[in-house]
Subunit: 353 residues, 2 copies
DNA sequence: TTGTATGCGTTATCAG
DNA sequence: CTGATAACGCATACAA
């Protein structure tokens, strides 16, 4: 029970074995007799031996750590979406014996930090968050030879890298068409920042949905901002006071969608009855009842749904795989579910002019 | 520009200096001539030299890393509060040259993980999240001799450790008294899980506020659960359909408070006019407008406010200080602000029986 | 002011 | 199957 720092040397001395044998026994090498292995493992357990991570990193060149570089002072990252993704990724790392390293840095320092992580061999790979249209981090990481997986996609047609993305385009197209089928024609899009790659794709899907039904997209119904609650609120206030308010809105996240609901409530406008709302639902944990992994049976929002937490898990798996057997860069495109809740309904008579 | 892995050895060879001198120059030792130092720094920069973190950790015994162990599958951690705290702490670490290590593990593994981090010397210290009534992690970490700071407090009167907490008791007492001064008597408390230390203190404050004004706390107005949106919604539905609905509610977080608003809206009950709401506001970034560090001028919720992000920053500072000059365990108790928004008002005539 | 020699705790190579 | 022995890359006590 001595909590003294027992290292490989002292442990092997107490066992009357060489460090080599002890190390091999512990790391599951085949050439150790079962009897010695048992003895070693038992002793390691009894003396509470844990290999020093810095020593083994130094010896192996592997850090058994994955890095996440998150930009400081930008709301779109330090937000609930990020937390849920991290939770999912973290689960995977833990069960595979990896650690998660997070650096919160200003955008201007990003490149330096990636270089640092790579040359310091601080991490074995990184996850890239919130890719831009053509994100410079992708060629950078490739040149650094640091394994990585992108959560989302970037527009490099000629370039192969590993990514995991939701089919934002098809999801938003389907949602738009669903609204049109309900009789809506004036449909607003409350989108994320269009510097983000995913936001562009969502807009494309929305526009494709409209034009496929012969409706011309209009600038006055399209908004693009950080996906925070007050954004949804403010845009909705403006929209509802405009000459031709929309009868339906498509919102890029539940967060601004809550702002939409608040703005409507203040005006006595009933979601689903007077104005329809479809939100992109990342299955953020704090919005769902705490006693179930699954979302509730009868959700409030009609939503395009895809769990960002599961995405975190999967992205982490893909990265670990890439780290442990380099070469194959796999990518995955997930289709989101369209889940009918209480915030959509046929265009109300009141709303039609 | 060669991206080859240049280490101390090759760097010193190219400079015609010993590793010692180069190391000293880079680490700011005083006994190096300014001229050599300049030369060394310039070369290090040119060759893109970064010391291997595992090597220096091994040599110094310091990891320059802070650990955060977060329990898996519990909503109160994998949530926006956590994300904001992490953001704040991460800023501090980065500017001080520290890394943040996160392990997401099941509750049952926590002790093992803390022991691991300590004996592996993986981290120089840890931040303890969400302390319980008497949290076993505190004596554990003390016995492991691992520096730590608790975000919140635990009930160990005889025990000195470092913590940073908001004065939850006084905040909830003030809020309660404020509501009573507005004429409210039936005031509900929608609290967090009372296994959490902070939730207990909040309830105490609430009860103290009531009794100080001669009102007896009643069980039927007190709720305790994970602070998620649907919780606020469901409790409010039940409350509003009960025999004597409250005329005011005190909510432990903005998240369930949004659920409260949703439930009221469905019933055509106007916040601030028909029913007053005060929420504890952690200044979660996604609830505030994205273009300002400060919360909006005219907030929606009347709230007890204390930025959890600032708490993260400060807690990290305290921990680093403790790591770099051990001994003094400092603690801080912050008073929260009471900010008047639009969700409070005098008890309405309609609501009085 | 600079250099030499040694240690940090592992893993890996090569003999036996 | 087991054991010396040499890296891994840096920091530091001690010498010069």
């Amino acid at each position: 029970m001595s909590d003294e720092s027992v290292n490989l040397k002292t442990l092997s001395e107490r066992l009357g074995l060489s460090q080599t044998t002890v190390s091999r026994a512990l790391n599951g090498f085949p050439e150790v007799s079962e009897q010695t292995r048992r003895r070693v493992i038992e002793a390691a357990d009894r003396f509470n031996y844990r290999p020093s991570s810095s020593a083994s990193s130094l010896a192996t060149g592997k850090a058994r750590t994955v890095g996440h570089v998150v930009p400081l002072a930008e709301h779109h990252m330090i937000n609930p979406h990020f937390a849920d993704f991290i939770a999912g990724a973290g689960e995977t790392y833990s069960t595979h014996g990896y650690d998660m390293l997070i650096r919160v840095v200003p955008r201007a320092d990003e490149e330096r930090v990636y270089r640092e992580l790579a040359t310091q061999k601080r991490v074995d790979g990184v996850v890239v968050h919130g890719p831009l249209g053509r994100d410079p981090r992708i060629p950078l990481l490739q040149s650094l030879q640091l394994p990585f997986v992108v959560h989302g996609r970037s527009d490099y047609a000629d370039n192969e890298y590993s990514w995991l993305d939701v089919n934002n385009r098809s999801a938003f197209r389907r949602a738009t068409e669903f609204l049109i089928d309900l009789g809506h024609e004036r449909i607003a899009l409350i989108n994320g920042l269009e510097t983000m790659n995913f936001a562009k794709r969502r807009r494309k899907g929305y526009e494709a949905g409209l034009t496929s039904r012969g409706i011309e997209p209009e600038q006055r119904y399209i908004f693009s901002q950080d996906m925070v609650e007050p954004y949804g609120y403010e845009v909705t206030c403006r929209l509802m006071e405009s000459a031709a308010p929309p009868t339906a809105v498509l919102v890029s996240s539940i967060l601004p969608a809550m702002g939409v609901v608040r703005a409507l409530a203040e005006r006595g406008i009933r979601p689903g009855t007077d104005v329809s709302i479809i939100a992109f639902d990342d299955c953020l944990s704090f919005l769902h009842a705490s006693d179930s992994e699954r979302p509730k049976d009868v959700p409030y929002f009609t939503a395009i749904r895809s769990s960002i937490r599961l995405a975190g898990r999967r992205a982490a798996q893909m990265l670990l795989q890439q780290i442990e057997q380099p070469g194959a860069t796999r990518s995955e495109l997930w289709e989101a579910d369209l889940v009918i809740g209480q915030t959509t309904g046929p265009k109300s008579q009141a709303a039609s002019q």
